[in-house]
Amino acid sequence: MRIFWVKTILLFFLFAICIRLFYWQVVRAEFLQSQAENQHYKNTKIEAVRGNILFADGSILTSSNPAFSLYGLPKQLDDEQKVTTAYLLAKVLTGKQEEVDGLAKEITNKLSQDLYWVLLKRNISPDQKKQIEQLNLKGVEFEGSSVRFYPEGSSAAHLLGFVVPDTKDAGASKGYFGLEGYFNGELKGISGLLRNERDALGLPILIGNFLESQASNGKSLILNVNQTVQFIVEESLRAGIKKYGAKSGSVVVMDPKTGGILALAAYPSYDPLTYYDFPKEYFRNPIVADQYEPGSTFKVLVLAAALNEGLIRPDTKCDICSGPVSISGFTIRTWNNKYYADTTMKDVIVHSDNTGMVFAGKKIGLDKFYSYLENFGFGQPTNIDLQDEASPDIRVKEAWREIDLATASFGQGIAVTPVQMVRAISAIANGGNLMEPHVVSKVLSDDGKSVYEIKPKSKQVLKPAVAQQVMEMMVAAVQEGESKFVKPKGFKIAGKTGTAQIPVAGHYDPNKTIASFVGFAPADDPKFVMLVRYDEPSSSIFGSETAAPTFFEIAKQLLLYYKIAPSE
């Protein structure tokens, strides 16, 4: 009987063992396999390095600096260790003695959470990492990442945009606004994975299983932006805003032959590294996202349209310019209430005569005027390679009244963006071609080979002879107009001032203006087209006394930089 019971017990145990083995090997097989793999294998995410953004000459505008994310492993620490670790980390992470206690408390709180790992601090420097490693702390780990580096500080912030940590992909980053936003896909790269077998000490086993999916670093961008031109523009704009007491201002410089943006600056600006310290309104790039009424700078485009259609000639005389013009019950006056009977179209531009423009507008008529608005690219995005471009709509043709055509002919009642305006003027500068503006000239792969080159796109919108005639009118406007005293001597520069009142609650505020100056130099073979714009300058409301001096100040330096000698 005893043998029977012994056998029964043994069989029972055998059965229990079989059940247990079945449970482990069949029911829990996948879970245990994954646990074993986690112990044998180490997965390391290889972060892709974000691509650089380089000036036209290859110097760095933005690159990446190595940084690390600091993680804590709360389960490996007891309460006393958590407090000690937090205090030691805080001493390394903050340079200020008075902040140590606060930071230590913050880290202790993070380490007290019921988690396996917790992020303690992002973007710590390699030096800080070294110091922490020397402390030989338990329960602390690092993960490699990178932080954007700006050798020129906050320069070209609106052009660049900024980078923030990607909440959907730990360790990765995401660009917003400007180039960082527009080219985020190209710049961010693709992270890789390294998976290899480890021994009991955690060292890699050479003949063990090894899987590597290489990280593909982000592509780099080579811009059309010239480092020196950008520096000159920013410095002059900053000084101009201060001098003229403007609320804000912007300058855009473009190569009329290629459409390449040579410089782009706007103030108030922000620091892309500490973007979170600035108001959100500063992030919008006013050159591509802000709409404004161009005022008298628009006149040259209306005259170009009329000349191109053969409806007027530069010497055509205006027969309604001897006094204010009445249209649909509205009276249109000149900016200084001076009138020139039988003035020529050239003098209309020189004197910035609104009545002369009403004459030209009538000659063109709504249909042709509207089609030229479209030809010059108004009402549609320029396709500039910056994320935040917006294009103000043009009213449908059917909604235009006679007075709308009259006011639009001198640049009021119509909205444009600065980049649309500078592009349209570049068509006059380059012989009639409307260029597509581009900030980036080339995209380079990680190994430095060109992935693709952005070719200039253009369409002919004016006859070359007409472009030449309008250019001569703009040269006369500079030489004989209100801004003649600030023009650099000896250089042939084409330009036009603009002073547009700002619409406020259905009417124009006479004391608030947008002062602008648009032009190009040297007029016969332009190296650059530039638009300077000040919002609400307080020293003078006129473009000729604010934007024009800044334009000529920048132009003087650019002509020197491009080694262009005076021609007159």
Partner: protein, 98 residues
């Protein structure tokens, strides 16, 4: 009665000779030694690989930091500030020679 057996030479036994056994034992021993040596080396090279990989990462980081430091030093913002410190100023009156 005397039975006289006819003398016939004994057929050689078909067994492994001691020589072969010794050879197999020695071979196994050599293989064992090689395995121990290889395992030992693999473990050592694993550590060396770890160190080399770490060194490569460190050098890459330092290279990146140095490149950025150069970019900072040659940046126009820095050059302008240095030149101002040294008393340089912008040209005021430019003479063009034809």
């Amino acid at each position: 009665m005397t039975i006289i057996k006819k003398f016939e030479p004994a057929e050689p036994r078909k067994t492994f000779s001691k020589k072969y056994i010794a050879l197999v034992v020695i071979s196994l021993f050599v293989l064992m030694v090689i395995e121990i040596w290889a395992n030992n080396n693999v473990a050592v090279y694993g550590e060396k690989l770890q160190k080399l990989s770490f060194l490569q990462k460190t050098l890459n980081l330092e290279n990146q930091i140095l490149e950025n430091e150069i970019a900072k030093q040659v940046s126009l913002t820095n050059v302008a500030s240095k030149s101002a410190e040294l008393g340089f100023s912008k040209p005021e009156s430019i003479q063009y020679i034809r």
